[in-house]
Amino acid sequence: MAVLEIQNVTKTFGSGSVRAVDDFSLTVGDGELVCLLGPSGSGKSTLLRMVGGFETPTGGSIRIDGDDVTKAPPEKRPTGMVFQSHALWTHMNVFKNLAFGLKLRRLPPEEIKRRVEAILELVGLPGYGTRLTHQLSGGQQQRVALARSLVLEPKILLLDEPFASLDQHLRERLREEVRDIQQRLKITTLFVTHGQDEALAMADRIVVMRDGKMEQVAAPDTLYREPQTPFVAGFIGTMNLAEGVVSDGTFTRGPFTMPVPVGDGAAILAVRPEALGLAPGGMGDIHRVTDFGTHGIVDVDLPDGFRFKAMVPEAREWKAGQKVDLKPRAFSAYRDNAVIYRSQAAS
């Protein structure tokens, strides 16, 4: 149906001093759902707003199915955006909210009625046309907002943290529904979120953004298992990122040492809590043990205060104050913001 190409897009604010988006390129394939994931201020929303036409790029180009839309206003773009705050028009009922765009396209009234009813059916709100927006729950409002975009059959669907204002339970249900609808319609989608769960659950590919730049783009499973930078490693899931020094093939941070087959120099050792084994010893002290029933999380402090988190199958085997050794089963090492070693079990 539609391909979105973002080429070398840059957006600066002020007098060019703030680079919200910095030389960003990405191609979203037909029917693909790509998540832009990053902390606030990483430029993900600005990028989405540039695709929607609400911001004009300072440089670079945006193409939809080959057509250059870089300078086109929002009303001239085949994109449909769902806003975080749903942004429904409170002075219109649900039907009028959905019909507004169709009326602007001068469709006959019967056709408008048919399409609105069909889209309400799709988002699970049949017969809700006469409701006023404030009579709907938060989840229903967000469904109507999604329907308002979908009813116009946009080539590209843009979602700007659409579930951020909903509670956890509703968010999980709605993201599954949205993913189902997206796959049924095979609509090319760009999705902005700062929640990694949402990204991992919905995306075909995830773009991790930092300071306006792409840090890594990969499928969810790859991103979790093979993060290319310490930032991605720390952002997706929990990761122990210990800075230390490697000399003669041994990584050292205080009493914690382990063999790492890389050249001498500073390095960051990355270990997932689930890959960090514990054994009675003397490298660190257990600060706290949290029992989740199915597993436990043990916080181990090195003498310099650095804290490791280790996942253990049985929390009751460990107690606060105990002295332990750390035994990573799988790990990676980073230097200069890139991977220099990944142990066999880690990949």
Binding site: P74, M81, W89, H91, G101, R105, A145, S149, L152
Partner: protein
């Protein structure tokens, strides 16, 4: 039990408040209303000796009363209309655009209210005298227009600012041009509050006396100006009373109209409630 007793306890503060309000607001209204329908009311009688519509007849048969009614209505309508044309786009600009000296200009509308109004009017009257605007319809329109600026800028600015920008963006997104967005989204969203401001400026202009008197005299006589001259120059109280009751009519209809057009909560929002 104790909660039951609490609920039955008489709200003395509320009653006192209601009594004071009644005395201060309702009582003078009743007195004026009674005077308007009294043919004869001499001291020391508590109620008039003779009720009737005699003074209504004599008041309404006066040519100057009818001229002042038409004058007041046409002045208020013209001022409100011009005020809308001038102030609403300005309010939108203040709310949505940034331009040099924006804040200074915005607060300058307060300055007009900050000084003693009469002094300002006298100064303006001096200028108008040279411009041949004294005793002129358009002179009064201009002076009364100044009085509406504060309401008609500040309240609509607040109304436009409170319209969610995402709603407007969502409308652009589904294909509406900027003008269409303003017409179909921004205006209806800000509408109730703006309606409150328009109403306020209409009623405010209708009752405005100082400017109308100073600039308009002697050719332009509005209802309040006529009422003042009745009270000052006529020994008969009933003329003034009848005119007061007549003067309530526009505000009464304005409020009825407001309740029909605007639901009460959004109307209150327009007044900062």
């Amino acid at each position: 039990m104790s909660t039951l007793v609490d609920k039955r306890r008489i709200d003395w503060a509320g009653i006192a408040f209601a009594v004071v309000l009644t005395l201060v607001i309702i009582f003078p209204l009743i007195v004026v209303g009674t005077w308007a329908f009294a043919n004869v009311w001499r001291y020391p009688a508590i109620i008039p000796q003779e009720f009737g519509l005699r003074y209504w007849g004599t008041t309404l048969s006066r040519q100057d009363v009818w001229t002042s009614i038409t004058m007041s209505l046409s002045l208020s309508l013209m001022v409100t209309l011009l005020s809308c044309i001038i102030c609403l786009p300005a309010a939108y600009a203040f709310a949505r655009m940034s331009f040099p000296a924006r804040n200074l200009l915005f607060f300058s509308f307060l300055a007009g209210q900050a000084f003693p109004k009469f002094g300002l009017l006298v100064a303006i009257a001096g200028i108008f005298l040279h411009l041949n605007l004294i005793g002129n319809f358009w002179g009064v329109v201009m002076i009364q227009l100044v009085g509406t600026l504060l309401y008609m800028i500040w309240i609509p600015v607040a109304a436009f600012q409170s319209v969610d920008r995402r709603m407007e963006e969502a409308a652009r997104d589904v294909g509406a041009s900027p003008f269409r967005v303003f017409w179909s989204i921004t205006l209806p969203q800000a509408g109730p509050t703006i309606a409150a401001a328009v109403l306020l400026s209409f009623v405010g202009t209708f009752y405005e006396t100082e400017g109308a008197w100073l600039i308009g005299a002697p050719a332009i006589r509005t209802m309040p100006v006529l009422m003042i001259s009745f009270i000052n120059n006529q020994p008969v109280i009933q003329y003034g009373a009848v005119l007061s009751v007549l003067l309530w009519i526009p505000s009464f209809f304005a409020i009825l109209f407001a309740r029909r057009v605007v639901n009460s909560s959004s109307f209150a929002r327009g007044f900062g409630g």
